[in-house]
Symmetry: C2
């Protein structure tokens, strides 16, 4: 295996993503050359997935190709940015053609769905690890930031919560319901970046974040950066049938409240924009569900269906502790 | 060690690089927000360095911090772009404070030298690996590309050739001259990105590339993409005293012609601009040396001092084969 094989991989990948008019020069020179749109700001995010830590070494390459791009696109969604370009640093032990074809299939399909062009990167030999950087654009001054929530905002989330966490429980044999397993595993391994929701909410919502670490941890970032607190209502949490059944069986609200990897959006909305958000909720994939309100009281509280109140949402879900 | 320690590292690093007015939002949100300058294009490059492949696992972290940024800045230099922003994906086995402080010192010092701000990235636990992406800007349509050489162009290189290769020979005990060892090791472990040269040559040179794989390999990329050949003159190759002595001792011209890792620039210049380039050569760090001419004859030739001609420049230097 020669170094040149690795260089060729970059070109192989680049042919699988769309060709954009604002890419002046793509893969194959010292740099890619990109033409930002006038008046726009760039939003960039970089995430690394490491074998044995973020995924099993034998994980399905199609799913991996999808997920490593999806988690980055989810960050663009959380700012309300429109995705444009992506770079990929792929470190692999050997240039296994089947693995690469699968990875490229998953990566390329999601890139085409969202009109994102692969413009550069690096392919190296080493322990399996994937770093992706996405580049999006949005009108200057309109990004949804973590520090922009105000007390009295309405807290909304997209999609359903706890699905990826329950899939992990099932994969470990801890709680398996065959009826919902396929759906849950799809949610874990092929998350849907909520780009349409992020774009539609920009200009309406105050603050936003994507749910990678779990609702409790991630909403806490908004609260801390914005100097507000929040009260959530457990019976309002959007749950798929599998998670709803799990919570009914076990009483374990920590799953929808604290498990990560759902890649849904959590936004805070000023009350006078509620009508617009409810209208969006009816037409956006995954919808939007009101789950609580920000307030001036520091910290986060959850009111359970029986009226009891949890004053400390777990900041991570024990089953998933990776350290 | 908790995941949160890794998140904190990102913030620790970001404080070590300059604060730029065009960074609307840096480390700490879902995305960084950047304001491109009107009328400019973006140049982006991403490179990965993997322990055990690109550097020894016990390598000096200060040098590593420098080098992982330098090799990326060198790509911006080769397009003639002005560096602006950088992202860093750092995968490390443990959050070793001494190692991190050293790495950040090397990375931060070079970033400050060139006014580059760290705006995002990811720190994860895993086998040591570093991926850096740099973002530069240049006036639309002015980038030096690999495909823009024309037959009859003059070929110039910056700095001296073969220094990093000779340092590797020395580190392996194959050819050691104590008088030049420190200089050579500095060239290998702390390469100088030729940003001033790239910027000055933009608008004058036709094509450019940075010398990472060796003069033979890299100039061949320009030739292949531009549809030209080249003839080089060995007695014109700029060499430091250590490399000149090595070649005099061994007759091994493959070192300056084919060894990699020097990160000098190689450019092709139309003959009518020669006066401007010679004037730049006197004031730019590292200078610029004419080494040959492109022509319409495919392939590359080297005329040795004794008049013999090599028709195939080695495309890699055997001592450095890593596969």
């Amino acid at each position: 295996m020669a170094l040149s094989e690795f260089a060729l991989i970059d070109r192989f990948f680049s042919a699988l993503t769309p060709v954009r008019a604002d890419v002046v020069l793509g893969v194959g020179d010292d740099c890619a050359l990109l033409q930002p749109s006038p008046g726009q700001q760039l939003a960039v995010s970089m995430d690394t997935l490491v074998a044995g830590r973020h995924f099993a070494p034998g994980a399905d390459p199609v799913g991996l190709g999808h997920k490593c791009l999806a988690v980055n696109l989810s960050d663009l969604a959380a700012m309300g940015a429109a995705p444009a370009w992506v770079t990929l640093a792929l470190t692999i032990p050997t240039p296994d053609e089947d693995w690469l074809a699968g990875f490229a299939e998953g990566f390329g399909a999601l890139a085409r769905t969202h009109g994102v062009q692969l413009v550069g990167g690096d392919t190296t030999k080493g322990p399996l690890s994937i770093t992706v950087q996405v580049h999006g654009q949005l009108e200057a001054g309109t990004a949804m930031r973590r520090d922009a929530a105000q007390a009295g905002d309405l807290v909304y989330v997209s999609g359903t919560l706890g699905d990826a966490g329950l899939a992990l429980l099932a994969e470990r044999g801890l709680y398996v319901n065959p009826d919902t397993l396929d759906f849950l595993r799809g949610r874990l391994h092929r998350p849907t970046p909520r780009l349409a929701s992020g774009s539609a909410l920009r200009g309406i919502a105050h603050a936003a974040i994507d749910l990678s670490d779990g609702l409790g941890s991630d909403l806490q970032h908004i609260c801390a950066r914005s100097g507000v607190g929040a009260t959530l209502y457990a019976d309002r949490l959007p749950m798929s049938p599998g998670v709803a059944e799990y919570v009914a069986d076990t009483g374990d609200w920590a799953l929808p409240l604290a498990a990560g990897d759902d890649y849904e959006l959590c936004v805070t909305v000023p009350p006078h924009r509620q009508g617009e958000v409810e209208a969006l909720a009816t037409r956006l994939p995954g919808g939007l569900t009101w789950i609580g309100t920000t307030d001036a009281c520091p910290g986060m509280r959850v009111v359970l269906p029986d009226g009891r109140q949890i004053d400390n949402i777990p900041s991570g879900y024990d089953h998933f502790a990776r350290d």
